[in-house]
Symmetry: C2
Subunit: 230 residues, 2 copies
DNA sequence: CTATATTGTTACCCATGAGTAACTTAAACT
DNA sequence: AGTTTAAGTTACTCATGGGTAACAATATAG
């Protein structure tokens, strides 16, 4: 009886990896109050782990950061991490989820305002530069690309395309309402993201460069370009 | 007599690693013609290795690419690679050297022309988008950042700063001669590189997007921005 | 107060891949 | 020719680090 508490076994398609699955479902019948507390605590710990991991990944890079490093930062041992994440890559995936929510949230907010396309684009840029201050987002931007798992790779691509598409829509709206000049919205959206995401690789809020100054320069560049109007 | 042909031993500072050093210096006395041929061949092979490595690194990433992978691409075995490069990281360093020469060469060319700052900047952008078509350059852009060796890390930073500085100089020149509007040249230079380097991560010459179209959109964005002039 | 699920630990396993030693073959100089 | 150097091979070592098994402690439920 000792070892039938926890698991059953399921052989994946390839038959190479064996996956543990729970047979006992997470007890949902008990009082939601106490359960809530547990779930809350768990979520907080997961968040902390993501923060620590993201910070480490940003400093040393994904492959140069071991799970032991992350565990140490979080003051637990490596196997404990596996209680919160499926594997190393899952950390990146969870960072991606956070990023998706925040960026799409920003887009919701921006597109909800009844402004013309250009102003919406400005607002998006402002918000985005703000968002990429967060280590988790920066970590995602830097490491979206590195996905061993095929499904994860596709999901990442899909989310990325989704966001790019929404920005493209803003640009198109701007061209329609006359606030943005005629241009190739696809290329412009990509270039914009290249520049903004690039910022996340070097900019620190604590650094010497002022946040407002940065935003101003970005907006001016995107708005006016650099050529002097004589 | 068998084993005193080749080597002496030298203990590095740390005393941990032992390094082989040649006592027999590379014969330079013999005819330069034949030597040239050897050096030439060697250089060609090194170039081929760099090409193969860069292609692999761009496809799978540095850490997911083993030296065996590269050796296989080059149709030799791993130890042979060590005849051409010091270690794995040395491949990145050699790619960096290539990149440095090409980009600084472009800058030489661009700044040699007696044009105003804005036109020089335009010419640089045109040339740069051309250059980042090359796998070796793309590899360098993607992996400058990953340097375990401290000296290599510093060298990389220095080269990068050097190039950025030269572009900043062009922008400043443009502001002086009135061809470029007043701006923070440091930030603009960085943003420009962020956008351009970003391109190297996704653009393929063989793809559906036309090279000229891309260059046009970049130049327009940098020149005019996206705001419609009413 | 006891049973059960939740967190966490110590001690492993084992695949991977960088780097090396020692030997073989091919080329080139005299 | 015959010897030296370059170029390449096979067969290893060995550190690293992701992942797991099995056990220990702590909460929570009934």
């Amino acid at each position: 009886m000792g070892n039938n508490i926890v698991v059953g076994y399921e052989i994946s398609k390839i038959g190479k990896k064996i996956k543990k699955i729970k047979l006992t479902k997470p007890a949902l019948k008990s009082g939601p109050r106490s359960n809530m507390k547990r779930e809350e605590k768990r979520q907080l710990k997961l968040d902390a782990i993501l923060r620590h991991a993201a910070a480490a990944f940003m400093e040393k890079g994904y492959y140069k950061t071991s799970l032991d490093d992350i565990a140490l930062l979080h003051k637990v041992t490596k196997p404990t991490l596996y209680y919160y994440v499926k594997n190393k890559e899952d950390i990146l995936i969870k960072c991606e989820d956070v990023a998706s929510v925040r960026i799409n949230g920003l887009l919701d907010q921006v597109t909800a305002c009844a402004e013309n396309g250009f102003v919406q684009l400005e607002n998006f840029i402002r918000g985005y530069v703000d968002i990429i201050t967060d280590d988790i987002i920066r970590c995602h931007i830097r490491h979206r690309g590195q996905r061993e798992d095929k499904a994860a790779r596709n999901a990442s691509l899909k989310m990325h395309r989704g966001i790019e598409h929404r920005v493209r829509e803003i640009i198109i709206k701007g061209m329609d309402d006359g606030s943005i000049r005629d241009c190739n919205s696809t290329i412009i959206a990509i270039l914009l993201f290249d520049a903004l995401n690039g910022i996340s690789a070097w900019y620190r809020d604590e650094g010497q460069l002022n946040h407002e100054e940065l935003v101003q320069q970005v907006l001016l560049l995107v708005t006016e370009g650099v050529k002097n109007k004589v």
